[in-house]
Symmetry: C2
Subunit: 421 residues, 2 copies
C-alpha cells in the first residue's frame, strides 16, 4: 500500500533483496539437480518479480494420474476455486506463478486463469481441465494474463530446466529451494520419487501447507495415489506450523509420472511404497519449516501418552504456535513454564500434577512442579543447539503425535512488516 | 534457565530495566491518585523484584461482598486452585505478589499460600477463606512464604499508600500502572467506582485477562455483583488479546466496598450502574492492550453483520491474533489481503464475494476483490496513526462484535526472548 510495495513491482523487489541477504541457517550446503522422466520442465521470468524466474511450466509426455489436496481456508484463491470447479481424471500440465497469489480477485481472477489455460491447452493439445494451476504471492492484486501467455508462447525455442530451477521459480519469501528425492527398490524394480515445495510464511497446516508437487516414477491408478497421499498427510504437511497463519493458496499434488508398474496387491510392496513416500513428504515438509520466516531454531514438539491423537495435536499446536514459547527458544531459555501455560490454553482436561516436560533429554518438570535435580549447565548447553526438541508427557492415554515449527525472531518481524504478501 | 534469569533475582532485574527503558507510547501523561473509602492499601518490597515494590495488601474495614472470575486455563496457578477450594461469602483482604506466579508449583504452592494466609488471617482477625490471593510473574519457581510474611508483619508501623502505588506494585512487564476511576450519580446519590489492573504479555481472553480489581463504593449484594460482572465481561476483558497466550493466573474481582445503598429494583438505576461499570471495565481492559508488550499501535477490529456473536468473535480473534496482520500494521501497510487470509483460517462459512474491508473510513476491498477507487495517499496517511481500526463486513447476518489488540514488533521479541515470565 505504501511505496515499497506498489502494484508496479508487485511487492517482490524487497523479497529479492531478502533472498540475497538473510538466508536460513538450515539451507542445504549442496544441491543435486534432477530431471524426472516423463515430463518437461520450463521456467520463465514473467515479471511478477523484478529479476528472478517466477513462472513454472511442467508438461507431462502423456496424461498422468494424480491426487491433490487444497487448503481448508474459507477464503480460497482463484486457482483453488478453479481447480475444484474442474473435475478431471488425468493431467497434462502444471502452471505455477510466484509473486501474485491471484487470491480474493473475484470473477476476474477466474477469468485470468481461463485465458492462460485456454492458450496453453490449445498449444499442447490437451483439455483445459487437464491443467493444474497454482499461484503464490501477494493477495488481492489483479494481473494481466498476457504476462503469463507471452512466456507460454515461447516453449518451442525454450531450453528445458530441471527440478532445482523449478523449485526456485515458485519461491516467495523462501530463502532456499526445497527438493527431496528418494530412491526406492521394490521387488528388484528401482524407481525414484521426486518432490519440490515452496513455503516460508503463512504456514499453518490444514491440508498440505503451501505448494508442493511430488512425482512418482511409476504407473499408479488414481485410487492408490489418493490412498497414499491421505495416509502420509497428517504426520507430515499437516504437522508443521511457522506462524499459525493458514494460506489462501495451499496445494499439494501427487503425480504418477512413470510407466513402470508394480504389483501393489502384495501388501509388503504397498507398504514399502507408502513408507518411502511418507519419508519424502516428511523431509519436504521439514524443509519448509527449516526455512520458516526469520528462523534461528527448528522446534520439534512431541506430545506423548495422550487420550487421543486429536488431544495430542491440539496441545502440540498450542505449544508450537505460542509466541511466548517461540521467543523463549530464540532467547535460548528452557522456559518450561511457558510450555505449561501453552498446554493450559488448549483447555484440554489434563491433570497438571502428572505432566512431565523434557527439553532434549533433560527432565525439567515432574509431578506438578519443577524437577529437583536439573543440571543447569547441561540444559544451557542444550539450548544452544539449532534444533530444540520438547517432549511433553501428558499421561492421559496411549496416543502420541509430533509437530514441527520454528522460533520467533526479529527477522520474522522485519520480513513481514516490510514485505508485502 | 540461563544466568540472566536465575532463581536468585527471580528474573525481574531485566523487567526493571525494561520498565525504565521502553515505555509504551500510550502511557497516560498524568495520573491522579485516589484512596477509596472503606479499605486500607499497603505496598511492600518483598524481594521478588530487585528494587521495586512487589507486594500489595488491601484490607477492607468490614467484610465485603464480591464477585470473581478466573482464567479458563486447564493449568491454573496455585492461587486460582486455592481460591476455588475456598468457598466464601465475603472478603476481608487481598494479597497480590508480582515477580513469581506460584504456578505449576504443585502441593508446595498451595502450602505456601496456606502459610501466609494463616499468618494474615490471625493478624487481622478474619477467617482464612476471607482472603483473596493472586500471584503474577515467572511460572514454576517455588518461593519461601516467609518473604511475604516478613512484610505482612510490619503493617502496624507501615504508612498506607493509594491506588497508584497499588497498581504499580502488581506490575510485571507492564510499562505503566493501570487505573480507572468513574464518578457516577444515580438518583442524586454520587459515588465512585475504582479499578486497577496489570497485564502486558500472555494476554488472551478467557475470563477477565490478567489481574484486575474493581471497587464499587456502594453496598451491593453478591448476586447483583455477579450479574454486573458477567454482563460486562464479554465486551471488555474477554475481547482483548496481545499475543493469544492465555495466562495461568488471570483473575478479575469486583468488590462492593462502600456503605451507601441504592434502590436497584428501579430498572433505570440498575442500568446506569451497569453502564458505568461497563465503561470502566472497557477503559481498564484497553489500558492493558495499550501496554501490550512491544506495542507501537493499538488495533481495533470490528466484525460487523455476522450470523452470530460467536462467528463475529471467532473471525475477530483470527484477525487480531494473526502475526501477519500484526506485523503489517507495525509496518504501516494496509495489507487487507492478510486480513482476508486471517478470515479464511477461521474456517467459518462466509461468501468471500460479499465481504467489505475498511481501514479507518477507507474502503479497500468489496465484491470479492480490490476496491477500484482506493485513495492511496489517504490510506498511507491513515496508517501512520497510533490507533488503527479495521472494519470487516461479512454480510452473513445482523450480529457484531469488536475486539482489541496490538501490533507485533521487534520490541515484543526483545522482551520475551530475554525476559523470563
Amino acid at each position: 500500500m505504501n511505496k515499497k510495495s506498489s502494484t508496479k513491482d508487485l511487492g517482490l523487489s524487497s523479497n529479492e533483496r531478502l533472498y540475497l541477504k538473510n538466508i536460513s541457517n538450515f539451507k542445504p550446503k549442496k544441491y543435486q539437480n534432477f530431471k524426472p522422466k516423463g515430463l518437461k520442465i520450463y521456467t520463465f521470468h514473467a515479471g511478477f518479480k523484478n529479476k528472478l524466474d517466477d513462472l513454472l511450466l511442467i508438461i507431462f509426455d502423456n496424461p498422468v494420474n494424480f491426487s491433490c489436496v487444497y487448503s481448508k481456508t474459507s477464503m480460497p484463491s482463484a486457482p483453488i476455486i478453479w481447480g475444484k470447479q474442474h473435475s478431471r481424471k488425468s493431467l497434462r500440465a502444471i502452471v505455477v506463478n510466484s509473486g501474485n497469489a491471484n487470491a480474493h480477485t473475484g470473477s476476474q481472477g477466474i477469468k485470468i486463469i481461463n485465458e492462460y489455460v485456454d492458450f496453453l491447452s490449445k498449444k499442447i493439445n490437451c483439455k483445459k481441465n487437464q491443467v493444474l494451476v497454482s499461484s503464490t504471492g501477494v493477495i488481492g492484486e489483479i494481473f494481466d494474463p498476457k504476462i503469463i501467455i507471452r512466456q507460454l508462447a515461447k516453449i518451442e525455442n525454450k531450453l528445458q530446466t530441471k527440478l532445482f530451477e523449478a523449485a526456485k521459480a515458485i519461491m516467495t519469501t523462501d530463502t532456499y529451494p526445497k527438493i527431496s528425492v528418494m530412491n526406492v527398490t521394490i521387488n528388484k524394480t528401482s524407481f525414484k520419487i521426486y518432490g519440490i515445495a515452496k513455503g516460508s510464511g503463512m504456514i499453518h497446516p490444514n491440508m498440505g501447507t503451501m505448494l508442493a508437487y511430488i512425482f512418482i516414477d511409476l504407473d499408479l491408478p488414481k485410487n492408490i495415489l489418493n490412498k497414499l497421499l491421505n495416509s502420509s498427510l497428517d504426520k507430515t504437511f499437516n504437522s508443521i506450523s511457522t506462524d499459525g497463519d493458514m494460506s489462501t493458496s495451499d496445494t499439494l499434488a501427487l503425480f504418477s509420472s512413470g510407466t513402470t508398474k508394480i504389483n501393489l496387491k502384495v501388501k509388503k510392496n504397498y507398504q514399502k511404497l507408502n513408507t518411502s513416500l511418507s519419508k519424502l513428504m516428511r523431509d519436504l515438509s521439514l524443509k519448509i519449516v527449516r526455512d520458516g520466516e526469520g528462523i534461528s531454531k527448528l522446534i520439534k514438539v512431541n506430545v506423548l501418552n495422550c487420550k487421543s491423537i486429536r488431544q495430542s495435536k491440539k496441545v502440540g499446536f498450542s505449544i508450537i504456535n505460542s509466541p511466548l514459547v517461540k521467543t523463549a527458544i530464540s532467547g535460548q531459555d528452557a522456559n518450561w513454564g511457558r510450555v505449561i501455560a501453552a498446554i493450559g490454553k488448549s483447555e484440554e482436561k489434563i491433570n497438571q500434577n502428572k505432566i512431565k516436560i523434557y527439553f532434549g533429554k533433560n527432565l525439567l518438570c515432574k509431578n506438578g512442579s519443577i524437577y529437583k535435580n536439573i543440571n543447569y549447565n547441561k540444559v544451557n548447553k542444550y539450548m544452544k543447539n539449532k534444533t530444540i526438541e520438547i517432549s511433553v508427557i501428558l499421561q492421559t492415554g496411549k496416543k502420541s503425535h509430533t509437530v514441527y515449527g520454528n522460533d520467533l525472531t526479529n527477522e520474522y518481524i522485519r520480513i513481514n512488516a516490510y514485505y508485502r504478501s
